[in-house]
Symmetry: C2
């Protein structure tokens, strides 16, 4: 993997990644879409014992622009501002123009609860230069490269003192609020270990202490033995509708060895994770013959300065549909109690997805 | 309050509530809309350490029926099946035709994670016989009656061995997935203390132990002293956009005395809670001159057989809009990390709602 780091006119970083050497002649685009001063802060929610981040400047962010104003389509034309320059590279990562978390956040006036500057980082990961593609339709080699990019960002951001958890994710589809259709994901680098990973890591820590092996490793071994919910299986990687799926079409993809993060994957595991990922994304899109929306989140070890042998990398997909044409709304029970109620059994949804045939290149 | 309990032809309970004596001549409607056998189960999610409930029979549930098939409009006509009989009563509560949790749930085949029958109850609370009304437009006396109904259900359901947490809630608007527009709420009686109340009660318990007073009581006192986010204030009740709001228009309504549940409210407090509630709902609907969608959830003490002096009743509103015409989508950060990112400051949203003038009868 080759990489080059540029600086945008407004000071934001732009990182280019490629399988081939990147030409020195590629420069940052001459102008950027217009942003707003980023100065977010966090407030402590004393009842839920969690941080809430406030970024007032985000109200103005780009909302489903027409194709000719796609800020992720490479352009060197000053009249068509873009985040990305024209040139030969495969993947690009840049600092979000409307970041919720930012290294530059400064202290705010006190409130009646504890406040802190919303330090950290928000990055955009552009999966391809081609706006008509999707993550799942990219060649396997490009998907592998994206895993390498995530690993690079995990290590680089994780080194920072103000970053305790690095989370790559992708929101896909207007159903989950996507504002730009060009294939891209995001990375949030939090200044704290967020509530959901914190709960999961605690369960994993307790299990490892009690049983001497990994919780997810064990659960995946049980899934393999059961077999009904498996969507992809090789010696290195597994994809499954988990037995305890909260969303109808929830899928988890994990390395079978408990790699703690994307940076901990071997080259062989990365290839197999890419194959599993492409398999799932093609199954999703072929299920109803249409682009299948989802929220995808990478769960991995915190970068809080401690060892996390209990962590086991996995990617989780949370699709909003519970059946064709019917969304699952999160309402009273899910939002108010945190108790998920599912209309369908994981076995039945796994059977639907297992029946969708896909062939990789 | 007068009350009468009837039994539907299919065995489900129907409870009528009124300010006036209820005639003996009111009988359960001769036929009910068609349901499905309710036999849900729960599976343990070992990573999140929480129960997920599966109710396959719910896929078939009623979805935005035309007005003439509104199953909540009283009818004694066998050709127009209804859940409610014609007659003089104010509020009705009946067992949900498609319950996620049910007293009759039985053991299911084992899975690779622990499973349990989804015991408990799901009830529907019909706020008025008039389909064109809304909770906020009901007379104060009717809203007070609804608080009494919630208290009755809290005590009655909470007595059951299979019920550890009673949660009244209302989902309002198609934006949060509502399938019936007739004004109604629901009550879920869980066989466990759900994750969100569990976290909040633990924070309240620790605070009370450390400071000798209630966490929410203290936070509300600080809100009163600050003043910027207060929407309603009397000696008995408060409504506020909390300093740590996660949703743009989030509002909490609480008794100022730390009543532990709806059943613990004095008559005077119930009146004042009703006034605060009506004030907020009228402000919501007048803000943009349209029915304002929300998820409303009552947070209160568990019914798990233990004392909960740390609990402090409050109603929380989670509206899906972040500004006029723009929904807040829960995506990567909220669903994957549990970390809320808000586009607006609670002070700004409180100012919008404070500017909306309403007068109560």
């Amino acid at each position: 993997m080759y990489t080059r780091t540029l600086s945008k006119p407004d000071g934001r970083a732009l990182r280019l990644y490629s399988r081939r050497p990147i030409s020195d002649t590629i420069a940052s685009p001459p102008s950027s879409p217009e942003g707003a001063p980023a100065n977010s802060h966090m407030r402590w929610h004393p009842l839920r014992s969690e941080w809430v981040a406030y970024a007032g400047h985000r109200q103005a962010r780009t909302f489903l622009p027409p194709a000719e104003h796609n800020p992720l389509a490479p352009s060197n034309d000053p009249d068509r501002p873009s985040e990305l320059p024209v040139g030969d590279y495969d993947v690009a990562v840049f600092d979000n123009l409307f970041p919720t978390f930012s290294e530059n956040a400064t202290a705010q006036p006190p409130e009646i609860v504890e406040t802190r500057p919303a330090k950290g980082a928000c990055e955009v990961v552009v999966f391809t230069q081609d706006p008509s593609q999707s993550l799942g339709r990219l060649p396997l080699s490009q998907i592998e490269l994206i895993f390498e990019v995530w690993a690079d960002r995990y290590v680089d951001l994780g080194r920072r003192d103000d970053v305790r958890y690095v989370m790559p994710f992708e929101n896909r589809g207007v159903e989950v609020g996507v504002t730009l259709h060009h294939p891209h994901g995001q990375i949030y680098a939090y200044p704290f270990v967020p509530p959901i990973p914190a709960v999961e890591l605690e369960a994993q820590r307790a299990y490892r202490q009690a049983h001497g092996c990994g919780l997810l490793e064990r659960l995946m071994a049980d899934e393999v033995a059961d077999g009904r919910r498996i969507l992809y299986l090789s010696e290195q990687a597994i994809a499954v509708v988990p037995v305890c799926a909260r969303y109808a079409y929830e899928v988890w993809i994990a390395p079978r060895r408990p790699a703690t993060s994307v940076a901990d994957l071997t080259s062989h595991e990365r290839c197999e994770m890419a194959r599993a990922l492409k398999t799932i994304l093609l199954k999703f899109d072929r299920l109803w013959g249409q682009a299948f929306p989802y929220v995808m989140v990478v769960h991995q070890a915190p970068t809080d300065g401690h060892d996390h042998p209990e962590a086991h990398l996995y990617m989780a997909f949370y699709p909003p549909y519970r059946m064709r044409g019917r969304l699952k709304y999160l309402a009273g029970s899910e939002l108010g109690a945190g108790a998920f109620t599912a209309d369908t059994l994981p076995e039945a949804k796994a059977a639907e997805l297992r029946a969708v045939e896909v062939t990789l290149d």
